[in-house]
Symmetry: C2
Subunit: 167 residues, 2 copies
Amino acid sequence: MNKTPLALLLALAVVAPPLAAETQMSAPAPNGMTVPVGWQNWRLIAVSQRSDGDTLRGILGNTVAIDAARSGKTNPWPDGAILVKINWKQKVSETFPAATVPDHLIHVDFMQKDSQKFAATGGWGFARWLGLEQKVYDKGDVAQECLGCHGMVKNQDYVFTHPAPMP
Amino acid sequence: MNKTPLALLLALAVVAPPLAAETQMSAPAPNGMTVPVGWQNWRLIAVSQRSDGDTLRGILGNTVAIDAARSGKTNPWPDGAILVKINWKQKVSETFPAATVPDHLIHVDFMQKDSQKFAATGGWGFARWLGLEQKVYDKGDVAQECLGCHGMVKNQDYVFTHPAPMP
């Protein structure tokens, strides 16, 4: 196989193709954040389950976030890091009852680190889009609602997620 | 910004950099499978939780698998598809008790579709590597042990996982 840099780049392009831009159609969040294009292709940081509401979650990060997670530099997370938490309602697996698996998508939550732009909310921009149609969540004061919980972990830069151990 | 194809490819290369090759040091599985280089960069297909053993899982796929998952062509999965299930012991979050989060890594399981090569085991090669050191799991007849459960879902091409809904 011809291993020129260009061939390598082409191979990588297949690994992470650009997504269709339909999510860009979603309205911006109250703080001005827009849905990052291609977040569905971001890499895994962790998973979680919540007993209040019975949800399963996958937490992905953009390149800045992944680099920080894999080098242990997450307190604070660097400017430019974006985390996304995908929230599914959970259900019992139809084929393996001891397993809990994703049901429908409820919402997708983003945290974007920008110490200056979002200085008023801990250096993080918070945003949520609902359902497969990614309708913006804009009821009430979204940022303060998010900080109501995330403020509990100010000492870990407002982020609950710890990167899960990976080989 | 200069949007030439080369610039785009360079940008994508940053999105999915090649991983270090240390996982290649793991011994091959009994069926000859080796740890796929860079699986930690694969994209998310689903998450799950298991009450028998108290584990959280992330399921990723290589490009062939992701293309199949996103186009709904997973019964059968195409030859060349590789799925990986990362298994963590679960623990209660120290900062949010309603949340269950990953503790240590237990094992990483792969299913590789090759209808001819793995015809004797439903068209799938099964392999497992243990812990962060990725020690090969080779006790007993691994393939038959895997099929002992996966055979239950022969009608969905031996795969329990359904791709989780994504926007």
